[in-house]
Point group: C2
Amino acid sequence: MLVHNGYMKLLPVLEPAADEACCAPAGMPALGAEEAKQKALVFKALADPNRLRLLSIVKAEASGASCVCDLTGPLDLGQPTVSHHLKILVAAGLLHREKRGTWAYYSLVPGALEKTAGLLATL
Amino acid sequence: MLVHNGYMKLLPVLEPAADEACCAPAGMPALGAEEAKQKALVFKALADPNRLRLLSIVKAEASGASCVCDLTGPLDLGQPTVSHHLKILVAAGLLHREKRGTWAYYSLVPGALEKTAGLLATL
DNA sequence: CATCTATATTGATGATCGTCAATGTTGGTG
DNA sequence: CACCAACATTGACGATCATCAATATAGATG
């Protein structure tokens, strides 16, 4: 195995010779495959404009909870589509669902956004 | 009994019928469509396990920069696929690309991860 | 009971995505 | 010049996704 890190960061194109310079040993990937898959799930839930807007509306709601009909109007989407997005956000652990009578109320899971932000720090 | 919106923020106004129930706001979307689309682009770049691992490896590199061949090994992916992922991360403003000789070095854009974490706080 | 209302589920469809094999491009070297 | 190595781009293919129309469920009401 040949190593090249930790040394060449300052010198530009010197590297006079001989051995190939690049490509470290390919040791551990620093972030496990399974761990990465898990974290990607949360970001996947955030990777849609309409879901971000849903989160935003729920977060802005003073009462802390919004029913589906509160969310169907502002977005230009049908009700089944909104329900679908909400399900994804709940599965990602970002929203909490509570059924009260005929209505379903969605609220932010406390600390979920902060925890998600933390995922970036501990990459 | 439907207790619904609590006491509905003391909405004044005309409201023709006795129809109470849900769905009050329907006004501002709290997060603009265009803004949401922009933010979603960044999260979309993070919504793949292999891209997260790429970021992790680049971040862990002591020199601060990794060439493509450093990244092709640890992940179980072909070189064109890695190049493709790197391009997406660069387009999202997360990675910076610098060509030195034959090699291409990728490094974290300073503050990019923190800024992304901030997107969640200002939803 | 029958009915209305709020929400969830299903099925289908067009779009986007992740991946690879093949090829193109660029820079270094003999 | 010819050749090779590192990386990028293209094109194709299967998988996943976002969306809607239609339908189903479940609670409230008459």
